[in-house]
Each structure stands twice: as C-alpha cells, then as structure tokens.
C-alpha cells in the first residue's frame, strides 16, 4: 500500500472514531471523562482570574456610561422606595395572615433551602449550546441536577461537576426542558430552550389540551421535575401561535434572567422537598 492509501485509511479511521465520539456525547452528561476533568480543573484558576477582570471592566464601563443619568435615577429611586416601603408593610401583614392560615390548614411551612453563591467563570466556547462554568464543584457539595437561580429567576441546573467547577445547563439551551405553571391558573407547561445565542427566548408548550396561553402570562416553575422548587419565576410569554394544523399551541417566552450578562448565581444545595402533613400522615 502506498503513502496516499495509508493517509486515506488514517483519515477514514479518524472520522469513524470522531463519529462515535460525537454520538456518545450528543446528550448532556452527568459523568465527566478524565480528559475533560483535567482540562476544566486546569483552566479554572486562569478562567476565574480572567473572568474577574472581565466582570470588573464590565461594571466600570456600565458605571461610567450611566453617570449622566444618576441624578434623575436617584430621584426616581427615592419615589420607588416610598412606594415599596408601603408595599412591604402590606406584605408583612399578608405573611402574618399566611402563617395563621397555614396553621389552620395544618401544613408545614416550605423548607428554606440552603444555597451557595458561585461566580460564572467561563461560557461555552461555541455558540451552539448554552452552558456556563461556575467556580464551585463537588468539594463544595454540588451534584448534577441541583437547581441554579439568581435574583431574576431560574438560570438552569447543574449538568456535571468536577472537584472545583460545575457546568450549568442554562434554561435557554436547546436540550433544556423545565416544567412550569402559568402563574395564577395552574396550567402545566413545558419550557424548552431555543438555542438563541442572546438568551432572549425559550419556547412554551402546554401540557393539557385547550390551555389558554396569552401574551403577558407569567410562567413559574411547577416543582414537578424535582429539580426546581415550585414558584420560581421563569419568564413572560410574549407571543402565542398555533401550529399549521391547529392541533397544538406554542408560545415564545422571554426569560427574566439576563443570560448574556450572567456573573453571580446561587446553587440550591438540596432537592426541593415540600412535605405536607395532612390527614394521611396523622
């Protein structure tokens, strides 16, 4: 066999190996291979340093650009504080009422979940998937499947962990699916990632026939997936349409979380357990 044939054979074998590798790794995996673990752990300290510089630069730029509007923003914020203070007083009164009603219904209060703060140190290097790496891992108590949130709402869940890092599958990843409810109506829906690189949209699929989705509806987690506790804000429906045959309704959702400027997140360290001690338990 001459050199050309050997080269062709080598390229053929290489492509077969790569095809097998692509097939095996095409779905999100909780188990990380040794080479992946080594690469992620080795890069993590440098990525943390780079990412800290990047966040600092981003914040500084934002501060400088918003300097001119600070005065009017300050006035507006003072007015908002006054309004919010009165709302807080109303909420405190509602909470006291809630406690009394729970006691009447003999329900245990929702368990407060422990969480840990983590910094986003890297993003997926290609534009096709929506994952980020955070600087907390197995030694901090993280496991695949833990929920990741921030002040705005649902960020995603832990896909895989190494010792000091974890990969988070974001809500908008094309392979993400989260169960939710339309707030206030208890209509179950499935929230699926669209793969939009800007992270501005996800799709909503109703799980019951005749579901009435409307633009402006707020979607929250249902708690049925056992990853997210119920009631976490996910996003707002901005568009609703029927498929070509009128059999299925779909909706476009704008997530509350700004996925492009994600810097700090919270990982919920325990799966959501909401136990109700009703008559059955007594």
């Amino acid at each position: 066999m001459d050199l050309g044939k050997w080269q062709a054979l080598a390229v053929g074998v290489l492509f077969l190996v790569l095809a097998g590798l692509i097939f095996v790794t095409s779905d999100p995996r909780a188990v990380v291979s040794v080479p992946e673990k080594v690469v992620r752990e080795t890069l993590a300290p440098v990525q943390t340093a780079f990412s800290t510089v990047s966040h600092w630069a981003q914040e500084t730029l934002r501060d400088v650009s918003s300097f001119g509007t600070l005065r009017s923003e300050n006035r507006s914020l003072r007015q908002q504080v006054a309004v919010l203070q009165s709302e807080v007083r109303a909420l405190q009164s509602l909470e006291r009422e809630n406690v009394r009603l729970r006691q009447l219904l003999d329900l245990q209060p929702r368990l407060a979940q422990q969480s840990i703060a983590a910094q986003v140190i890297a993003r997926t290097p290609n534009q096709w998937f929506a994952t980020v790496t955070i600087n907390r891992g197995r030694i901090h108590g993280l496991e695949p499947g833990f929920a990741v949130v921030n002040a705005q709402g649902v960020v995603g869940h832990i896909e895989s962990v190494t010792g000091r890092t974890a990969q988070v599958l974001l809500l908008v990843d094309p392979q993400s699916a989260v169960s939710g409810f339309v707030e206030g109506s208890d209509q179950p829906v499935l929230i699926e990632g669209s793969g939009d690189p800007a992270g501005n949209e996800a799709f909503v699929r109703p799980l019951v026939r005749g579901a009435n989705l409307e633009p402006g509806d707020h979607i929250v987690t249902s708690g049925l997936s056992r990853i997210f506790p119920p009631g976490l804000p996910v996003g707002e429906i901005v568009e609703v349409w029927d498929d070509g045959y009128g059999l299925e309704r779909r909706a476009r959702l704008r997530p509350y979380v700004d996925f492009v400027h994600l810097d700090w997140v919270s990982v919920l360290l325990e799966p959501p357990i909401i136990e109700e001690t009703g008559e059955d338990d007594q």
């Binding site: 095409s26 780079f50 890297a122 998937f129 793969g195 492009v260």
Partner: protein, 173 residues
C-alpha cells in the same frame, strides 16, 4: 518548537474566549478567537497545517464545551482547510484577503457544524441557526481577524525565524 508555541497560543486564546469576551457579545454572539488563529495559520502554512490545527483546536473546544465532542474538531478542520486552500490561491498581501478568508471559512465551518449536528439528531432550525448564529459569528470572526491578523502574523514570523535559525545551526553543527 513551532507546534508547542502555536499550541500554547491556542490555549491562551481559548481561555480568553471563554472567560474574557462576555462583555463583547453582540446579540449573544462572541468571536471565535481560536478559529481566528487557525485561519491565520492556514493562510501562512497551507491547507494541511490549517486542517490539522483546526482539528486540534476544535477538539479542545469540544472538550471544554463537553457536548458533541469531535464535531467542532471536524468543522474547524474543514474551516482551517478552507482558509489554507483559499490562501494558496489568492494574493495574501492584500489586507482584505485574511478578513474575507475568515468570513468564508467561518460560514463553511458553521454550515458543516449545523448539518452534522442535525445528522446526529440535534434539532437546530436551519434558518434561525444561519441568521442568529452562523452569519453574525462569521462577521465577528472577520472583524476579529482584521484586528488580530497583523499580531498573529508577526508572532508566526518570529517563530519561523527562530525555527530556521535552529535548523541552520543544526546543519552547521
């Protein structure tokens, strides 16, 4: 020496790409600096080197991304090969050529990734993927190439001089 230096450059660029470029995202798209290095290498050293370096860079990207490992390897190898192929046929002294090469290679690499991912069952929609991911990515890569190509070429030239110097010393010795 050349391989080690280019490898080190790839790793540095990869770290910058994953952790430093978030503020520079336009519609969520960031430039793929690793591929920009591959295109520059393809233009300078030819299509075989471009394809090989593309394969290596793509595999590193895949290992970091952790999904469909090997697919970026294939698409980056195609893109690196294309950069070398175009570079061998066009006059490289024209400053617009590297920019055009980066745009065309990114489009080709992106299309390869999209089609192969669909073949492996990923439901990426074609029109949305082209308009939101491939096309903006190619523009951004071309822009990054315009800024970084002089720096990368200078580095390659420096490496070539050192490698040739060592070879000459070896022959004399």
């Amino acid at each position: 020496m050349r391989a080690a230096a280019v490898g080190l450059l790839l790793v540095l660029v990869l770290v910058a790409q994953t952790s430093l470029l978030a503020p520079f995202a336009i519609w969520g798209v960031r430039p793929n600096l690793t591929l920009v290095v591959v295109y520059a290498a393809g233009l300078r050293y030819g299509m075989s080197f471009g394809a090989l370096l593309g394969l290596l860079a793509g595999l590193i990207l895949d290992v970091v991304a952790g999904r469909m490992v090997g697919l970026s390897g294939v698409s980056s190898a195609v893109a690196g090969f294309a950069a070398g192929w175009i570079g061998e046929r066009l006059f490289r002294g024209n400053p617009l050529i590297p920019v055009a090469v980066a745009f065309a290679s990114s489009m080709l690499g992106g299309a390869t990734y999209l089609l192969a991912a669909r073949a492996f069952g990923m439901g990426f929609p074609i029109i949305d993927s082209v308009s939101r991911t491939i096309l903006p990515g190619a523009w951004y890569d071309a822009l990054a190439m315009a800024v970084l190509y002089p720096l990368i070429t200078r580095l390659f030239r420096h490496l070539d001089v050192r490698v040739e110097g060592r070879s000459a010393k070896g022959v004399e010795g």
